[in-house]
Structure formats: structure tokens, C-alpha cells
């Protein structure tokens, strides 16, 4: 009889024990799947399963506040954020499984299994007392008692988390918000700029091929050379000479745009105007 079983059995009756064993199997299986799934989206869905089963376990154990926080904050907010990020990165993006340091995965796996065995032994050997002492902070009174703790004993760390929140908000602004340094060009400005520029017509789009169509695939000119105009300049510079060229037999990768120079405002005509 392991420690977790003691925890589950001591609080409540047989129904809770049944719920525990069902959810234990589900959550551990989902957690393993989360680690082993190569696709991030599958991982996120399995993570939702883990969090929901934990929430139910908390509820069964008589901690309704924790159960709802688990659902509202983790499943609701954090996981949605994960999914947003995945949508930005690309739903079909899979992890690269190539090892950059040789033997790293084996070593990490051994160390992880070692730690797991160690912690399992530690928890298994520990004599954990009954989880819910009589007359307790669990069940119906749970929320009130938590409130009491938060606003008396732990009021200082609780208030302190505001510093954390301000830092997080400030950090998000610093890392994500870019202030305009020049006035926003109006539609009239953009139209004038386009007509006066070299390309009144829209710039060519990226290439679409049988074996790949992505924003970083250059379109081919009639003579078979890739067209530098068909790529976003930032992307062309990023990929440099390692630009992907569709299929075999296509010569000469694109020269990197503006090598060495940190990209001036004059580097390229305004792509925003060209690709509405």
C-alpha cells in the first residue's frame, strides 16, 4: 500500500478510492504521452487531460478551491496560451529529434530515471500521516480557511506577488511592444511610394511547389534562378545562404540580403505595401 493510497483512503470512502485509481492511471498515462508525443499539439491536449484529472483528484480529496483554480487558471488560461503559441509557431511543427550533443539524450534519460527512482523510494519509505485531520480545513470550510490563511499568516508573500505581476506586465511591454519612431504612413503615402518605386504592381509571392510551399521558398524566375523579390527581406537575411531551394537542379542559392549591414530603412521597398 503506497503513500498515495494512504492519502486517498484516509480522507474519504470507497468511491474516492475508485476515482483515485481510475484517474491515477489516466493522468500518468497522459503525462507519459505528453513527454513522448513528438507533436506539440498532441502534447498540449494530453496536458489538458493531466490537469483535468488532477483537478478532479483535488475535488475528491476535499480541496474545491484548488480544483477550480486548477481548471480555471491552468486548463483555462495557461493551456490556452500554449495553444496560441502553438498556432503562431505552426500546428504541424514537430520537434527536431537530432541530438546536438552526442549521447545527451541517453545521459539525460538515465539521470531522469535515476531521479525518479530516488524520489519514488523517498516518498515510498516516508510515513505520511492522515492527510485530513479531523475538524479540518478541508471540504466545505476549505475556501474560508484558505482565505483566512492568505489574509493573515501569508498576507506578506501574498501582497508581494504584486511585485511579480508588475514585473511580468512591464516585461511583456518591454519585450513585445515597439514604439513607433516615425509617424505611421497613411494610405496616400503608401500609394504614392508604390507608384514612384520600381514595382508598382505587387511583388511576386513565394514559390509554390509540389514538395513545399512556405514563405521562405523563393519563386523561380523564367531562367530558373530564384527571385529575391519573392521573399520577405527579414526572412531572406535570417536564412542567409542556407536558403531552401525547391528541388534538385535549381542552381545558385540566393545571396543573403545586405550582408554585414544591419539593414537600413533603404534596404527594400516597403513590403507591407506590396503584400496587402
Amino acid at each position: 500500500m503506497n503513500a498515495a493510497h494512504v492519502l486517498a483512503a484516509s480522507t474519504v470512502g470507497a468511491g474516492a478510492v475508485v476515482a483515485f485509481w481510475i484517474l491515477a492511471v489516466i493522468s500518468v498515462a497522459a503525462a507519459l504521452g505528453l513527454v513522448l508525443a513528438p507533436r506539440a499539439v498532441h502534447g498540449a491536449v494530453l496536458l489538458a487531460v493531466v490537469m483535468l484529472s488532477l483537478a478532479v483528484l483535488y475535488g475528491v480529496a476535499g480541496a474545491p478551491f484548488l480544483a477550480f483554480v486548477q481548471i480555471i487558471v491552468y486548463t483555462g488560461a495557461v493551456l490556452m496560451l500554449f495553444l496560441f503559441v502553438l498556432m503562431i509557431v505552426g500546428v504541424s511543427a514537430a520537434d527536431s529529434m537530432r541530438e546536438t550533443i552526442r549521447g545527451q539524450r541517453l545521459a539525460a534519460g538515465l539521470a531522469g530515471i535515476g531521479l525518479l527512482v530516488l524520489l519514488a523510494l523517498v516518498v515510498g519509505h516516508a510515513a505520511i500521516g492522515p492527510a485530513a485531520p479531523a475538524g479540518s480545513n478541508y471540504g466545505v470550510l476549505n475556501v474560508q480557511r484558505l482565505a483566512q490563511l492568505i489574509f493573515t499568516r501569508y498576507v506578506f508573500p501574498f501582497e508581494l506577488t504584486s511585485a511579480l505581476l508588475i514585473t511580468a506586465a512591464l516585461g511583456a511591454m518591454v519585450l513585445a511592444h515597439r514604439e513607433r519612431t516615425s509617424p505611421k504612413p497613411s494610405q496616400r503615402d503608401l500609394a504614392r511610394q508604390r507608384v514612384r518605386g520600381d514595382h508598382p504592381a505587387p511583388l511576386p509571392g513565394p514559390g509554390v511547389y509540389a514538395r513545399g510551399d512556405a514563405a521562405d521558398m523563393p519563386a523561380l524566375l523564367p531562367d530558373g534562378t530564384p527571385s529575391p523579390l519573392s521573399l520577405n527581406p527579414v526572412m531572406a537575411r535570417r536564412r542567409g545562404s542556407a536558403i531552401r531551394v525547391p528541388g534538385p537542379g535549381v542552381p545558385a542559392p540566393l545571396p543573403p540580403g545586405e550582408p554585414g549591414k544591419d539593414g537600413g530603412p533603404d534596404a527594400e521597398p516597403d513590403r507591407e505595401g506590396a503584400h496587402p
Binding site: 519509505h125 489574509f151 498576507v155 506578506f156 508573500p157 508581494l160 511585485a163 508588475i166 511591454m173 518591454v174
Partner: protein, 529 residues
């Protein structure tokens, strides 16, 4: 019925009692940080820096004055009491904590001077952190000559967290403090104006590894809670004295909490983030991390291991021995192979962490006071050294490669001389503060029965002295490279930082007694429980 009794229970909550006077140094720093955020929101861009400087430096000075006034309160230490536990048991106010907080505030003041340096028209921080490196937007921002002024409130938040970290009397408060001090540092690391990709890489690495170590810390807290039924340090100590039934949980808790704390110090084998982060971060932020963060992390480590695990010295000492030996040797030996001056200083900082750990191992009042003294003098020397690093520049920014430092002594003898002085202090040459510090920690370790550790420490110091002296030889006895860097004239702020570092290194080297006496007075009653 139950809901009625619940309502009754809720009605009988007694309001918490907060000792605002004894918490005032912390509150002033956090208040200054919030004021800095308001400045960001309401003051026009051109005038923000001046406002920030007044708020940040003024806040730190006020915090220092308040620390002294709290320390001078006669009722705090009346009848031989080690101090008070305030804020409903969340914060301990005692001698070592006040000493550490004072040290952090002084070091932060000098670091803020470095952060604020812009006498050559360039701040060390990015114009627009959100602009992609190498993009036209980045260039526009640079040409406009703007820079992020959010660094001041972020620095103050980090300093507030650092001041709370060694004062936290329960592990929950300590974890919140750990995050409050870490989160702004992750951000600050990624805001370098030059070499932005390496700076962003440093921030990313620091964030991921830091989050990982926080998770270890939390696992440890959970284990200790499972063992003792409390997160309070004194309750854990009380449980450790009586409850022997599930000691495995206690040991696992010690190990995991220890990993979290040793990571922040950068002790081997948890040091891998340090060279990369120190190299990539803006040098002013590196100075802040190498001084204040290390002091704060040692403060937290000392409190946890002296208060919560104070009766288990026999259990954690062997592991701490191993970590101290590995840290001293690995830090000193790997530093020899470095070719970048910031990476070299990072490994040197790792080695110095090992030297302080020898005094921590002693687990005595002498060990505590030696650690406090070492941290204070080492922090000041480190800021001075990094301030010198900011001054050696070539057109691409700071010239950090050691080959470019060749012959610096012939080109600008004063600067090279000051840097050589700092290096000698790191090496522990007599008449520098480094010697006094090393002497104090090794003496405490030897008195605490860790003589082999002292011998290894002296050997590691000899190895470390080799690469410090090698840099000095490189600066003074080799020919300057033709495309070598220029040494810019230090602005007022950087000059002040270098001067404070050099003066402290000299004064505490020649006359360490007053500070030593203060440290041993502060550590006399150990931590409050």
C-alpha cells in the same frame, strides 16, 4: 449548519499585524520600483532618465538609512535576542539579515550608477527590445538615440527581491522572493544594446535553467512540508529535532531546496548557466548579478541551512564539502582556458562562491561572519572589475576578447593598473580586501574542522592566481595589438563605480578590522528562529 459555522469562522478573523517600521527598507525599495513604473507611464521620454535616477538612487539611499535605523533600534536586540520575526512570521529581522541587506543596497547603488552610465551618448541597453535584431526598426530606434528606461524599475524590483530573499522566514516567502528577484534579471539580461542575439540567448538560457531550478526548490519545499507539516523554517527545525519516522522526506527536501539555492550561487555542478549569462548580459547587469545576486543567494542559503537544517549539520555537511571542493577546483581550472574577459570573471565568480562555501560548511557564528565579510568585499571588487570592462571598447562595442587586452598597460596605464589591482584582490594578495576575506573564511573553516577543505581552497587560490597574473602580464608585458581597443574616458558614474570598488578593495585590505567587527557583531547571535 456547516455554512453557518463557516461564516462564523470567517467573521472571527483577526487582522494581521504588520511591523511596517522593521519592514520599511524593503517597502521603500518596492515603493521606489512602483514609482519608477509610474514614471514610465507619465513622464515624457527625454526626462525619464533623470526622474529614474533620482527615484532609484534616492530609494536605495533611503533604504540604507532605514536599515541602519532598524539595526540601531535598541528594542530589536534587547536581552540578547537575535532579532524579531515580523509580518506574521514571514520575515525575520536579525543581525545577519540586516548586514546582508545593507551590503545588497550599497552594491545595488553602485550597480545602478553603472546601469545609468550614458556619458558617451549611448546607454548600454537596447533601443527597442521588441525590434528584431538586424531589422530596419532596430536601426531606426538606434538612430533616434532612445533606450529602454524600464531597466530602472526592473532593477529595483530585483533588488527588493534580493533584500527579501535572505530575510524570508518561511519557504513560501522565500520562493516568492526568489521569483521576484529572478524575473527582472531574466529580462535585464536580454536587453543589451550591442550583440543582441547573444544577449537574448543569455536571457533565454537563464530563464529556462532558472525556471528549472525554481521547480527543484518547490519540489524540495513540498517534501519538507510533507515531512514537517509546515513551511516555516523554525517549524522544520523543530520537526527535525523530534520526528525521525520519515527522515527520507527530510533528506530529499534538503537536497532539492539545496539545489535550488546552489543554482543561484552558481556552485558546481549547477554552474553551467553562469559563463553564458555573464557574457551575454549587458555588463552593468552582469555587475549587478555578480555582486547583489550572489550576496542574496548566499544569505538565503545561510539562513535555510543554519535555521531549518541547523541540527542536521552532520547530514548535509558531506554533500556541502563535495560541492565546495568541486566549485573551487572547477571554477579555478576552467577559468584558465577562457579567452573572454567576462567569461573569465564568471568562472572566477564560481570559484569565489566555492571559497565562501568553505565558511558555510563550518556552520558556526565565525563561519557566518566570515561569509558576510567575504561577500561584502568581494561584491565591491567585482563591480569595480566589471566597470573597468565597460570602458575597454572598440567600434563593435566592448572588446571582451583577452587578446585585445594585450598591451593595455602601455596605452592606458591607470585603467590597466586599477584592473590589475582588482585581479590581485581576486587572487587574494595581501593588502587587498581579497586577502582579508580569504583569510577570514579559511580561518573559520579550519576552526570548524574543515582543514582539508582549507588546503584545497589554498590550492585552488594558487591556480586562480595563475590566470589572474596571466592577464596582468598580458596587459603590461606584451605589445599592444595594432587594431586594439580604445579606452574611453570614464563618465562620472562609471568613474564613481570604479573609484568606489578600488577604494573599498584598498581600505578593507589595509584596515579590515571595522568591517570584520561589524560582521562578527551582526553574526554573533546567528539568525532569529
Amino acid at each position: 449548519m456547516t455554512s453557518l459555522s463557516g461564516a462564523l469562522a470567517a467573521a472571527t478573523i483577526t487582522p494581521p499585524h504588520i511591523e511596517y517600521g522593521q519592514l520599511s527598507p524593503l517597502l521603500v525599495v518596492f515603493g521606489a520600483a512602483v514609482a519608477g513604473v509610474l514614471v514610465e507611464a507619465f513622464v515624457p521620454r527625454e526626462r525619464r532618465r533623470a526622474f529614474h535616477l533620482v527615484i532609484a538612487l534616492g530609494g536605495l539611499v533611503a533604504a540604507f538609512a532605514l536599515i541602519i535605523s532598524v539595526a540601531a533600534t535598541p528594542s530589536l536586540f534587547a536581552h540578547g535576542s537575535p532579532g524579531h520575526v515580523v509580518a506574521m512570521g514571514a520575515v525575520g529581522v536579525d543581525g545577519p539579515t540586516l548586514f546582508i541587506q545593507g551590503t545588497i543596497v550599497v552594491l545595488a547603488f553602485v550597480s545602478v550608477l553603472l546601469i545609468a552610465e550614458s556619458s558617451h551618448g549611448v546607454s548600454p541597453f537596447a533601443a527597442q527590445a521588441a525590434a528584431v535584431p538586424g531589422s530596419a526598426e532596430e536601426r531606426e530606434g538606434l538612430l533616434r538615440g532612445i533606450s529602454h528606461t524600464e531597466v530602472y524599475p526592473l532593477t529595483l524590483f530585483a533588488v527588493g527581491g534580493m533584500m527579501l530573499f535572505p530575510a524570508a522566514n518561511d519557504l513560501l516567502t522565500m520562493f516568492v522572493a526568489l521569483e521576484v528577484l529572478s524575473l527582472p534579471l531574466y529580462l535585464l539580461c536580454g536587453l543589451a544594446r550591442r550583440r543582441r542575439l547573444i544577449s537574448q540567448e543569455a536571457a533565454m538560457k537563464y530563464f529556462l535553467l532558472g525556471a528549472f531550478s525554481s521547480a527543484f526548490f518547490l519540489f524540495g519545499v513540498a517534501m519538507l512540508y510533507g515531512y514537517s507539516g509546515s513551511v516555516s523554517l523554525s517549524a522544520i527545525a523543530a520537526a527535525a529535532a523530534t520526528n525521525v519516522s520519515s527522515a527520507t522526506l527530510l533528506y530529499a527536501g534538503i537536497a532539492l531546496v539545496g539545489i535550488g539555492l546552489l543554482f543561484k550561487i552558481g556552485a558546481v555542478p549547477f554552474q553551467s548557466w553562469k559563463p553564458d549569462v555573464y557574457q551575454g548580459a549587458p555588463t552593468a547587469v552582469t555587475a549587478l548579478m555578480a555582486s547583489c545576486t550572489v550576496v542574496s543567494a548566499f544569505g538565503g542559503l545561510l539562513r535555510v541551512f543554519y535555521v531549518a537544517f541547523g541540527q542536521l549539520t552532520w547530514d548535509w555537511r558531506p554533500a556541502m564539502w563535495g560541492v565546495a571542493i568541486l566549485t573551487m577546483l572547477a571554477g579555478a581550472i576552467i577559468a584558465i582556458t577562457q579567452t573572454d574577459v567576462k567569461r573569465m570573471l564568471a568562472y572566477s565568480s564560481i570559484a569565489h562562491g566555492g571559497f565562501v562555501l568553505t565558511a558555510v560548511v563550518a556552520a558556526t557564528a565565525a563561519g557566518l561572519s566570515a561569509s558576510l565579510f567575504y561577500l561584502a568585499v568581494y561584491g565591491l571588487t567585482t563591480i569595480g572589475a566589471f566597470a573597468v570592462v565597460t570602458l575597454v571598447r572598440d567600434p563593435a562595442g566592448e572588446a571582451n576578447h583577452l587578446s585585445k587586452w594585450a598591451g593595455l598597460g602601455k596605452r592606458s596605464p591607470w585603467l590597466a593598473g586599477v584592473f590589475a589591482f582588482f585581479l590581485l584582490a581576486f587572487a587574494g594578495i595581501p593588502l587587498t580586501s581579497g586577502f582579508a576575506g580569504k583569510f577570514a573564511v579559511f580561518q573559520a573553516a579550519a576552526a570548524g574542522g574543515a582543514l582539508p577543505l582549507v588546503i584545497i581552497g589554498v590550492l585552488a587560490s594558487a591556480v586562480a592566481a595563475f590566470f589572474y597574473v596571466r592577464v596582468i602580464v598580458l596587459m603590461f608585458f606584451s605589445d599592444p595589438a595594432p587594431d586594439g581597443p580604445t579606452v574611453v574616458t570614464p563618465g562620472l558614474f562609471t568613474g564613481a563605480a570604479v573609484a568606489v570598488g578600488a577604494a573599498a578593495t584598498l581600505v578593507f585590505g589595509i584596515a579590515p578590522e571595522p568591517l570584520l567587527a561589524l560582521a562578527s557583531h551582526a553574526a554573533a547571535h546567528l539568525f532569529v528562529r
